[in-house]
Homo-oligomer: 555 residues x 2
């Protein structure tokens, strides 16, 4: 098994050995700047307790149920120790972190199962059903919407986490059709490393890539950082195999069909509520030899949006276009500044360009093109730059791209660092059609800012366009505020709700790529409508009639 | 209302005023050649009876039900006359034609409703439910899989066709998001002409384009002739509005979401069994100024398939790649030959190229590129030709493309002409992943040929690649055979079944773009699996609990 959960932070983001890697001087500079912007000194937050100090409720798994699970999975694959349970007690949402850092877990799975193959998953589901257990499929556990909370529904005796990470094999590589079939518990780096050895890539790089699994990507309808070129997980998915309490649902492996509704789409976004995704066949691509990512600065966000539209119209093979608004550009520049250096070239550059109109509303875009031929990519990149420049863009060269590549999976570590320092940082994302985007961006940023003032006395809010489509784009919002001294979850909920209300009011979806989980469930009915919710519930009732799969999520 | 059903053949394909337009000499040459290939003289089939001579079963619509429908729709919109009923008695499948040409319609809707707007559709559904009527949503009526048969299920008193073609308005044109919202009864030419006036196109051109509707395209998961460039209807659909017996299901108008399963995909392919699709928002594109379509001849089908793969790898903006196998190439050339001309340049060309290896296995491909800039398109076309030539392709220039453009919607008329002459011609299509494609193509063609020998004493079968994807392609099969003197539906069913069995055995889908209807229903469970079928039935039970919508189709 390549996935090693012991190397991951159980109560924070990512690998225990990794962090944002800010120097002492840079850390202090960031905190000073945030304090200035909040207009108040920061109060260090409560430290996270070590895993040994965690208090867990007693397991509700009966000896009989445990024996039945052990009979099909083996002793070592049915764990009730505190560490295993704590590691599977939550995902990585902001309220998850608030709860779990305190060390007093009111919720934890009563056991953790580690089936080693598909047969074992099916056996585990049968025992769970017979023993009245709820089952939470658990891959990387990186859900940021409460998608893996171990909720015990009425009528169930206990809840178990079903850890899928031992299902990590390549089952078939079809180089003719250019597809690969994997067990769905495989994590991002393992999957890419197997494909890479054969000269292929999936091209799916969500920010959780290093610690999330294929099954999780499908279950949450994930979308990666290069989705402008590679599409979301739904574009890559050819077919999937779902083990439900009623048996197996396997979709056909053809490129397209008109054989009634596409059942793949019932598995995509099912969030573990219908069963366990155990296998998937994916479209793969030849790994590109050249990746060119550059930065460009616009006078304002709107000019950057125009550039994105123009780049799409030019049908250039963009793999990413990531446009920060003025506030996010400002925060990014702040994180880059190193007070230990006597000469700050960034500050000099910003001062010089201010005279050219790139002032406080300046917005930086990262844009990338991939290909096999260096000259073709260079030519396309030149064309892309020229298009951006026609919208007033100032080329920033490859520096910002290289820096992004280095830090692309690092940013979430910032959250833990800031939490230690008493600063809350949370994100939410939506998709708007282009016509709604400018107004939507403005309203949501304003709603978040206003909510931080009400509920935290101060705060910053910002956003960026992260994934673009012919008819619209994803806008990803970030909010920072001073953490309350108590009722921190309520404080978060109030601010989160303000953001979500604004998103829905402006025509956005409750989620572009994070999923619904428990955090967005309250807004889902507004999006799906009464009959839409009834349809999703009917599907659930058909495949999981006892309501044992990931209870409390989605529906 | 732009759609005029009176101008369409009620018992054959398309417009009454149009046909294949073969000269007498060419017709005779085609029939002689077919007779030679069948190894027997052709016996003219039974002529189609005129609509006045049609005998229909009495309407089962009670005066009370009729009065209730008239009360909400108006007198003129509730029709029980023979012509209206005959026009809505069948689609355009081969068994439909066999039945309907005889003039004795054992099945016909008991009434035809013509709601003029969405409110009227909702009212009609309410009355139908109250009066125990089954409802068949009827757009263009071009289903080739029995998708609009007026079947009366147990427990229902009568069945009505709900003609959607008065729902033909443009509701919104969002030039910022580049989307258009239409009422779903609009037909292809009306939709394109409205978009064209604003400089846009949808780019959806199924062979039924001239007589089919937007709602039908969505209901059947249609795919057009330029889907290599524009995608299938699912690629174009942003959101849809479905009126069900339980109320309205409307999906959100965003470019992408991760808010649980995508309910658009429950509407796509629903084939009228869940409700009436009344509105849809579609991604539109700027109408390209240049369309360049050319022909290329390969030594065999496999070389052509290699060329398609190479063109896809080159990421050229192909809008179509249509590769005929040797038998279809042969038939196409036969249809092109004009015996009235003393010099046949095609024959001369074929003789000359035979020496270069383009013999009996030669396979012709049509391939197209579109764009706004003539020079760019020319350069791309040159590159495409060079790629094809590396697979042994012989460029045939623009002639074949021009000829295809002229006849692209004409080919189905051939069926009526041949039926008159006692020759059956039917089509079926599937999608295979690339690895299965060569074997699948070969097996299905052979299964069809063998079935024609058994059930018709002679026959021809052939296929072409019509829509390509990174991981596979659609193969479209054509079968011709001498029509039996009696039990013609049974003869067709035996041959059709042999083809479908072979498709399923080789890993293909029961339909790439025609849909399921009644003709493919027997094979659907093999593709969807037990739980898949249960899921589709659960959706149906939720949205149409009384089973009143298009009974007998799909599930």
């Amino acid at each position: 098994m390549s996935f090693d959960r012991d190397k991951l932070r159980w109560n924070g983001w990512g690998r225990s050995a990794e962090s944002m890697e800010l120097s002492q001087a840079r850390s202090e500079a960031v905190l000073t700047a945030l304090s200035q912007r909040f207009g108040r000194p920061l109060t260090r937050g409560p430290m996270a307790v070590p895993i040994e100090a965690v208090s867990l409720p007693d397991t509700r798994l009966t000896p009989e149920a445990r024996a039945a699970l052990v009979a099909v999975l083996g002793e070592a694959s049915v764990r009730v120790d505190a560490k295993s349970r704590a590691q599977h007690a939550a995902g990585k949402s902001f309220p998850d972190l608030l709860r779990i850092r305190g060390g007093k877990l009111e919720r934890a799975p009563d056991a953790v199962l580690y089936p080693e193959n598909v047969t074992a998953v099916a056996a585990a589901l049968r025992v769970a059903q017979a023993e009245g257990l709820a089952v939470v499929p658990f891959g990387g556990g990186t859900s940021v919407v409460g998608g893996v909370e171990p909720l015990l529904p009425e009528g169930k005796r206990a809840v178990v986490a079903l850890d899928t990470t031992r299902l990590d094999k390549l089952l078939a590589l079809d180089t003719v059709s250019r597809t690969a079939t994997f067990e769905a518990g495989i994590d991002g780096p393992s999957l890419e490393s197997i494909l890479s050895a054969h000269g292929y890539t999936l091209g799916h790089f969500p920010q959780s890539f290093e610690h999330s699994t294929l099954g999780g990507w499908i279950a949450a309808r994930s979308s990666g950082q290069q989705s402008d070129g590679y599409g979301g997980i739904e574009t890559m998915l050819v077919s999937a195999r779902l083990l439900t309490p009623r048996g197996e649902l396997k979709t056909i492996g053809v490129p397209r069909h008109a054989a009634g509704p596409d059942l793949k789409e019932a598995i995509l976004g099912s969030e573990g509520t219908l069963g366990v995704i155990v296998e998937a066949t994916l479209r793969i691509r030849e790994k590109p030899a050249v990746q060119d990512i550059r930065g460009m600065m616009f006078r304002d966000f709107a000019a950057g949006v125009s550039a994105i539209r123009a780049l799409m119209d030019a049908e250039l093979p963009m793999t990413m276009m990531r446009l920060s608004d003025a506030q996010e550009t400002d925060l990014s520049l702040l994180l880059k500044r190193d007070p230990a250096r006597s000469f700050d070239p960034t500050a000099t550059f910003l001062n010089a360009t201010r005279a050219l109109g790139y002032g406080d509303r300046r917005s930086v875009m990262l844009f990338g093109i991939e290909g096999n031929d260096r000259r073709t990519v260079s030519a396309q990149m030149l064309k892309a730059q020229a298009i951006g420049m026609r919208q007033g863009g100032l080329p920033l060269g490859k520096g910002p791209g290289n820096s992004w590549k280095k830090e692309r999976f690092k940013t979430p570590y910032l959250r833990d660092f800031l939490l230690d320092e008493g600063v809350a940082i949370d994100t939410m994302e939506t998709a708007f059609c282009w016509r709604d985007l400018a107004r939507g961006h403005e309203h949501v940023v304003e709603a978040l800012r206003s909510a931080t003032l009400t509920h935290a006395g101060a705060g910053l809010s910002m956003g960026h366009v992260s994934h673009s489509y012919p008819d619209g784009a994803c806008v990803y919002f970030i909010v920072l505020y001073p953490l309350a001294q108590e009722d921190r979850v309520a404080q978060w909920q109030a601010i989160k709700s303000a953001g979500m209300d604004a998103i829905v009011a402006c025509g956005g979806t409750v989620s572009h790529h994070h999923g619904v989980g428990i955090d967005h469930a309250a807004w889902l009915a507004a999006e799906k409508g009464e009959l839409g919710m009834a349809s999703i519930r009917a599907l659930k009732a058909t495949l999981d009639p006892d309501g044992m799969m990931n209870p409390g999520k989605l529906v």
